[in-house]
């Protein structure tokens, strides 16, 4: 893990972001509720959480791709090199998307145009970014396809998305996202739909390209194995809030929040056949945003919950080390993971 100089300002900074959704009958829920984090150049920040944690709404908020009339940013700032993007017009935002900020989603078909060849689509992105003649932009597209490890890139550039396998399409989407050399890459479950041998190729590729281009990556995933392999720092989300942050070592070996350690304990790990014991579980279910418990949102599932956990919502406490934790009892615990044993 590379240590960044302390003085270096963050490239992307999310500051007290609140995103509100309308859920029928005028009822509003805060899908993202006061989330803050920052990413530096060359760094990978993972946002981890289960369904309903708000991790994907966070990424859609950064990209300003929230569903119109249903979701909106109701508070906070999202700064790129210190400049707030929340107040930008749609047109100004379009110039930033796919230019300064690239994105990769779980399902490549949602961001690829089915009636244009892959080469044409990437060339268009290149031309938006840089004044280049069409033929030159197309050459650049082929170079990008080669960079992401697509065999026979010149032939593939002539193909339509449906003519490619899932792994190929994912790589084509990465090629498109990277073709304008973004300084920030938002990757929302980019390998979740892929087979593990293809996932390994894509993760390897992302690391190589990051080393080459110095991108900041925000990696959104529920897969703790992927987090351990990719991230420098980790943000754990639960029911719309950040509940813990830390370096990947801190989170995986010494979690402070009971939810984080619960997640770590509940995943089966390979190579444990001998110690075939029951998996540890977190009881119950992630609460609906319309029916959040008062106080700590995790308390209804937490083995350590006390009366005072229900009294007030715990603040996200920032520690001297720079980590943060949302739990009134964290100092009383010595939580373990299998890695710290």
């Amino acid at each position: 893990m590379t240590q960044m100089p302390v003085a270096e300002p963050p490239l992307l900074e999310v500051d007290d972001l609140q995103t509100t959704f309308i859920v029928g009958e005028g009822q509003q829920v805060r899908a993202v509720d006061g989330v803050s984090f920052a990413v530096k150049a060359g760094e990978t920040l993972a946002i981890v959480g289960e369904s309903g944690s708000g991790k994907s709404v966070t990424s859609l908020s950064i990209m300003r791709l929230l569903p119109k009339r249903v979701g909106r940013i109701s508070r906070g700032a999202i700064r790129l090199r210190g400049k707030d993007m929340v107040t930008l017009s749609d047109k100004e935002m379009r110039a930033i998307r796919g230019n300064d900020i690239g994105m990769i989603f779980q399902e490549p078909m949602t961001s690829l145009n089915p009636v244009q060849t892959i080469g044409t689509q990437i060339a268009e992105v290149v031309m938006q970014h840089e004044r280049l003649p069409k033929a030159r932009a197309h050459e650049r597209a082929v170079e990008m396809l080669e960079l992401v490890g697509i065999p026979e890139p010149a032939r593939r550039a002539q193909q339509y998305p449906h003519q490619m396998s899932g792994g190929m399409r994912q790589r084509a989407m990465i090629a498109m996202a990277l073709s304008c050399e973004p300084s920030v890459l938002i990757a929302d479950e980019p390998t979740t739909a892929l087979d593990v041998t293809i996932q390994a190729q894509i993760l390897d590729l992302m690391r190589t390209l990051q080393a080459k281009l110095g991108m900041a990556i925000v990696f959104i995933t529920h897969d703790l194995g992927v987090v351990a392999e990719m991230a420098n720092r980790v943000v754990v989300m639960y029911a719309g809030q950040v509940v813990e942050t830390g370096t990947v070592e801190e989170i995986f070996t010494k979690p402070l929040m009971p939810y984080t350690s619960g997640l770590m304990q509940s995943i089966p790990r390979m190579g444990e056949y001998e110690e075939k014991t029951r998996l540890q579980t977190i009881p119950g279910y992630v609460p609906l945003l319309t029916k959040l418990p008062g106080g700590c949102r995790f308390r209804t599932r937490c083995a350590f919950a006390q009366d005072r956990c229900a009294a007030a919502e715990p603040p996200l406490e920032v520690l001297d080390s720079g980590r943060s934790v949302r739990c009134v009892r964290w100092q009383e615990f010595d939580l373990k993971t299998k890695a710290s044993a």
């Binding site: 289960e50 190729q201 993760l203 703790l224 089966p268 190579g271 279910y285």
Partner: protein
């Protein structure tokens, strides 16, 4: 029925399911006459057994044929050729009406519990159907039986009059499992039963399957792409690639000392949540070839780091490399 009975010697052993040389080709029709122009060779010459009370994991990536094996074994897809010997009867060739008796003994749990439950039926009806179709209990007994089933999967009788949409994903999968258990089957195919669930919920359902298995001595074919979950739950594991079996081994041997180059690559590709132990990774090149036109000889050879010219010539047979461990590779299991 009697002429289909196996020799006494086979019945005496502990095998519940014996699949031999199973093939399943899906025809692709083309041209104005809709003739079969080619086949998708979803399963090609697959043989394996499952003993009573055993959980056999079936792993592989997309296009490996693992789901088709599960469906064909239950005759949800018709086999193209081969035998499916279930408790002494080749059910691969049974007429539909005779299959009925076996349907009660063989059940399936699907990946997406929402898609497999009728949204307009209350849970009482969903589970009641399964009992009524197989004429289990009197209508009066059935309600008690349904409540017992719900309790066995960690729900309660309070849920009887609710609809599927009122449940979370984990609860719906519990209902899917209750429905499979309702007819007291001997054999369950679980097709990716936990892959649609959140991490914290997945552990609950894996534990439930472990408990039920111990309680009812269930025999299970557990199909999944998550290798850690499969290791946790299985006694033996089958690894498939492009319609063929690459390796079969007791779980411990498969994960400790994999023999086949594909098994090794697959295991090494799984991202490890253990940050203290970084492992050597085999990164395979390229994509899984099309099952319409699989490579000659060994189907894995186009991505195999160990492939030699000979690999294109012969389809490798499964050979024993250690007790109970079989591998189909001319390089590592000659």
């Amino acid at each position: 029925m009697s002429e289909l009975s196996p020799p006494a010697s086979e019945k005496a052993d502990n095998t519940l399911l014996k699949v031999a040389n199973l093939k399943k080709y899906f025809p692709i029709r083309g041209g104005v006459l809709g003739r079969v122009v080619r086949d998708v060779k979803a399963i090609n010459d697959v043989s394996f057994t499952v003993a009573r009370g055993e959980v056999v994991g079936l792993v592989g990536e997309s296009g490996s044929g693992k789901t088709t094996v599960g469906r064909t074994v239950l005759r949800l897809d018709e086999p193209t050729s081969g035998t499916i010997d279930f408790d002494g009867t080749d059910i691969g060739r049974l007429p539909k009406q005779d299959m009925r008796r076996f349907r009660k003994r063989m059940q399936i749990v699907f990946q997406d519990p929402y898609a497999s439950l009728n949204p307009r039926e209350k849970i009482r009806t969903v589970l009641g159907h399964a009992l009524a179709v197989h004429k289990i209990g009197t209508p009066a007994d059935r309600e008690d039986r349904i409540v017992t089933l719900l309790e066995q999967v960690g729900l309660t009788g309070d849920y009887l009059d609710r609809f599927p949409h009122e449940f979370s994903g984990g609860q719906r999968q519990r209902i899917g499992i209750a429905r499979a258990l309702a007819v007291e089957p001997d054999f369950i195919v679980a097709d990716e039963p936990v892959s649609a669930l959140d991490v914290s919920i997945q552990a609950q359902v894996v534990n439930l399957l472990d408990d039920l298995r111990a309680k009812f001595n269930l025999t299970m074919l557990f199909i999944a792409h998550d290798l850690a979950v499969v290791e946790h739950i299985s006694d033996r594991v089958i690894v498939m690639y492009l319609g063929r079996i690459m390796e079969i081994a007791p779980t411990r041997a498969l994960y400790r000392t994999p023999n086949h180059p594909y098994t090794k690559a697959l295991l090494s590709a799984v991202p490890s949540p253990d940050i203290t132990a970084r492992k050597e990774r085999v990164i395979l090149k390229g994509d899984i070839p099309s099952p319409i036109n699989p490579p000659s000889g060994c189907v894995f050879r186009t991505r195999c780091p160990m492939a030699i010219a000979d690999c294109a010539n012969v389809v490798p047979e499964l050979k024993q490399v250690s007790p109970g461990q079989f591998s189909a590779c001319i390089r590592t299991a000659p």
